[in-house]
Amino acid sequence: MTLISFFGNALTAYGPALAVFLLYVARNAQLVILLMTSAFFWLLSILFSSVFWYLIKPLQNVPVGTIFVAVTLQELFRFLFFKLMSKAEKGLNIIAKTPNSPLNRPANAFVTGLGFGIMSGLTLYLSQLAESAGPAILACNSCPGMDVFFVGALTTCLFIFLHSVWNMVAFDGWYRGQWLPFGFVMISHYAASYGTLLTPSSIEYGCAIALLIDFVILIVCTTLAVRPILVS
């Protein structure tokens, strides 16, 4: 019985990302390497976050503070990764299949964002997914009809793609020398992350509000990310 939950949650959380990975990224070795590198950068960000968390004792029981540190560091590493990638861009373009395509930059930004997202999705959700194979559910405090793991699966799915489009928006801005898009990314990342605090809260339909916030941000950011490509 519970294997059904496990597969349901697994497909919900990782299914779409896996589809993109297998049908798009995996066909191109260069994209795979980019994805792995960005995934590594996300891991570095979370490593530093955990060092902060570990060293600053008062932080340990305050999710608001933990989220602030983690989001800030993730965005810092997004910038650092952009710096690294813009250095490597020439080389990347040389070995690319289509060196002069205007799609290279947004595609690379998308794939590295996907790397960020996949790694964050795996790190933050995999343990819950494993536990969802057991017979028990953990009822969601704000939505008694739902269980924490399924809400987590939906959140994970949204965050993977949020990271992808955030990367596209931020990188596009930086390529133009603008920091405003990155500022928007940063604010929406804070909003999405703090929104997830509604899920374990006792606010009625808190989990639905949290998912809605994530979804709206995803739509807005996707629009922001795709528009420059189409108008170019």
């Binding site: 349901g8 497909l11 779409p16 589809a19 995996a26 799609l103 819950q128 017979p135 189409l230």
Partner: protein, 735 residues
């Protein structure tokens, strides 16, 4: 085919490169994932699963099969409460088709109801509730057979239809083979650790009509390895013999160089049994689980009366005018009697067989894990039993259930029945020693009694011996034997060998009766053993001791008697907390003793004490063959005793169908016709292998919804990826 394959080889190699890259990526991510999973799961599991302390029906094996329960791994069920037969019918008819853990009182737990539940295919397991849910005790409940152990008794060679039904209400559920788990919970004093969470959960389920999800469910975990029968199971190492330690003792000199037990004087055997059982087995003190098997009426009333008889006789032996009597008095307390008279049959087997000690050694061996054993093959701690001369046993006096609990006319005129195998001049003479009416004072304000001791046989009817230890002796030789019982033709104990035979039902009247019987027996035995009809007044039963023994054995081991004999047990219990009574289930045989045989051994050592020397705090401060007892508390709180030399011995008690193979150092079934009960080992060693976890589960619809959404999202992902790639290719005219 070949040409095509080889033609595509280069392309395939390129593809393989992509795949290995992919594989490496997946592997790396999985590794990262696994690490974080391990770290977080303990925390998550704590939030989701709540452990509930439970006892379980065990998987037991005999010579030709298995009985008891089996739990498949990962058995879970939604909690469902069934309070009566109407609830049961409603469950079978109306409950939606899922797996349920049925919470029910023993009253509903009958063979026909179990069969109904089993056939409903909706039951994952059963949780029996004794105390704590407010269920009334059943009027009668015994999971033993109608003639307990008769297939191993004195009349086993006669057709079963001729066996007298001593336990007519027995439903034999203990001998059924269940392919599902049956757990048991009970309130232990004021301890509600198992009751409260389970009660709240099942009540929450009932409030929602068992359809409003999430519902509470439990996981049963009590996997036991065994399959087949005792012989196969012992061979595979999946079983241990059921057994324990019997105790025997005597006032006659055995220890010094002029051992007098083999001086050809006649012997009078005074006997009682130690153990009983219950449908749900528990593991006694230290297990933190309520004690299910207490056996207050059977065997504890008999056991306590036998000990009180020994105490009355000891008053003479410790007086200055004591002289050796014309006959020896041998006290035997048999363990594992519930399992085919294992204790008595093995004892009789060992004292009737010449002992050939093949190996001696100071150190423990794989087949005899005892330091300082007197013989390591066969394995015996001491060989004192060899001085018991079986042929000199003149008579056997045994106490069955004698408390008079639930019998009519208590007070004022209780009747104790004397059961014999055959009514003949020898047994009549033996019965005449005890027959008649004795006036006894009340105890602690209870009214005085006139105890009638009468033969059970009468009006030309003799039901012969009820299942008893004396049978083992009689199977070898026709010795006059009398078994005392507070019943004539059926057990007065409505809860024979079950959970309900607990310490809650006896009172001062029962103490007065047992005390009167002990007094009568002691004085009659003394008269017979001394050959003198005038019995000294000091041979008199101590009613306070009877009450104290009953209290210690059936209600609370932290009693003054234990404080005097072995205060270390009280210290241990103060640390461990409840349960405070030990289980009457003998458990598995491992050359080690349970609390009950240990205490009986110490009580008898104390009663037969011939020397009390230097002060001590622990046994190991005393010389060999001395034990530290008669403790008293000093002002600073330490208990100090005296090194005491008395005489009490343990004797192995496991089925005579099982013997040790000393070459292989394993137990084997050597004779399937003799008792060969074994208990399966557990799949996991933690918490005795028994665990129950309480948690919430989702409905199948909800799970289907999860899977549906997962599939839809994945398909959406696939479609979006393909379509957008196609769109961008077209838009930017690539490839």
């Amino acid at each position: 085919m070949h040409g095509r394959t080889s033609g595509r080889r280069p392309a395939k190699f390129r593809l393989l490169d992509g795949r290995s890259l992919l594989a490496a990526l997946v592997l790396a991510l999985t590794l990262v994932g696994t690490c974080s999973v391990a770290a977080q799961n303990a925390h998550l599991a704590d939030a989701m699963y709540q452990g509930v302390p439970v006892s379980s029906c065990l998987r037991l094996l005999h010579a030709s099969g298995t009985v008891g329960c089996q739990t498949k791994k990962g058995t879970t069920g939604i909690l469902y409460q069934i309070n009566n037969n109407n609830d049961l019918d409603a469950f079978i008819k109306d409950a939606p088709s899922r797996d349920y853990a049925i919470v029910m009182p023993y009253l509903v737990f009958t063979p026909s109801n179990v069969a109904k539940l089993r056939n409903s295919k909706k039951m994952a397991g059963i949780i029996l509730v004794k105390d704590g849910f407010g269920y009334p005790d059943p009027a009668t409940w015994s999971s033993d057979s109608t003639c307990p152990n008769c297939q191993f008794g004195l009349y086993s060679n006669q057709p079963p239809s001729s066996w007298h039904q001593w336990n007519p209400d027995g439903n034999s559920l203990s001998f059924q083979d269940f392919d599902f788990p049956i757990f048991g919970i009970s309130q232990d004093g004021s301890n509600l650790r198992s009751i409260t969470p389970l009660k709240e959960a099942v009540e929450a389920n009932a409030r929602g009509g068992y359809v409003s999800y999430p519902l509470y469910a439990v996981e049963f975990d009590a996997f036991m390895w065994a399959a087949g029968n005792s012989a196969v199971c012992l061979q595979r190492g999946w079983c241990d013999p059921i057994g324990g330690l019997s105790v025997w003792s005597t006032f006659s000199k055995v220890l010094d160089s002029n051992n007098t037990l083999n001086d050809n004087k006649p012997l009078i055997v005074v006997s009682a049994k130690i153990d009983s059982k219950s449908f749900i087995s528990d593991f006694g003190i230290g297990s933190k689980l309520p004690t299910m098997a207490i056996g207050a009426r059977s065997p504890k009333t008999g056991l306590v009366t036998a000990l009180a008889t020994a105490d009355a006789l000891s008053q003479y032996f410790k007086s200055p005018e004591a002289v050796p009597l014309a006959k020896h008095i041998l006290f035997t307390f048999f363990d594992a009697e519930t399992w085919g008279f294992a204790g008595s049959q093995r004892f009789v087997q060992d004292i009737t067989r010449p002992l050939v000690c093949k190996e001696r050694g100071e150190t423990a061996t794989p087949s005899c894990p005892l330091a300082l054993a007197n013989c390591t093959n066969p394995c015996f701690y001491d060989l004192d039993f060899t001085s018991i001369q079986f042929n000199n046993i003149e008579s056997i006096i045994e106490f069955d259930s004698v408390g008079g609990i639930d019998v009519p006319n208590l007070p004022p005129n209780p009747t104790i029945f004397m059961h014999v195998d055959e009514v003949n001049p020898q047994t009549t003479a033996l019965m005449n020693m005890f027959a008649g009416t004795t006036a006894a004072p009340g105890f602690n304000g209870s009214s005085p009694l006139n105890v009638n001791t009468v033969p059970a046989a009468g009006d030309g009817v003799n039901f012969r011996l009820p299942p008893s230890s004396a049978m083992a002796f009689l199977a070898k030789k026709n010795i006059p034997a009398v078994v005392f019982g507070d019943f004539r033709d059926r057990y007065s104990n409505r809860y024979y060998n079950s959970e309900f035979d607990d310490g809650s039902l006896w009172d001062a009247d029962n103490v007065a009766l047992m005390c009167a019987l002990a007094n009568k027996t002691a004085r009659s035995v003394f008269a017979s053993a001394s050959g003198n009809t005038t019995v000294p007044l000091i041979v008199s039963a101590n009613c306070t001791l009877v009450a104290e023994l009953m209290n210690c054995f059936t209600r609370n081991l932290t009693c003054s008697l234990v404080a005097e004999l072995y205060p270390q047990l009280i210290d241990t219990l103060e640390v461990l907390g409840p349960p405070l009574t030990d289980t009457a289930y003998s458990g598995t045989f491992n050359y080690d003793t349970n609390v009950m045989p240990f205490l009986i051994n110490r009580i008898m050592t104390n009663l037969t004490a011939t020397e009390r020397t230097s002060p001590c705090i622990r046994d190991d401060q005393c010389p060999t063959d001395y034990a530290c007892m008669s403790y008293s508390k000093l002002a600073n709180g330490t208990s100090v005793g005296k090194c005491t030399q008395g005489f009490a011995r343990f004797h192995w008690a496991y089925g005579t169908g099982i013997e040790k193979n000393y070459q292989k150092a394993v137990f084997e079934v050597v004779d399937p016709t003799k008792p060969s009960w074994t208990q399966s080992k557990f799949g996991t060693a933690a918490t005795n292998g028994i665990r129950m976890r309480l948690f919430k589960v989702a409905s199948t619809n909800y799970e289907a919804l999860q899977l549906g959404i997962g599939c839809i999202l994945t398909v959406l992902g696939i479609a979006t990826t393909i379509l957008s790639q196609r769109y961008f290719r077209k838009r930017f005219k690539m490839e």
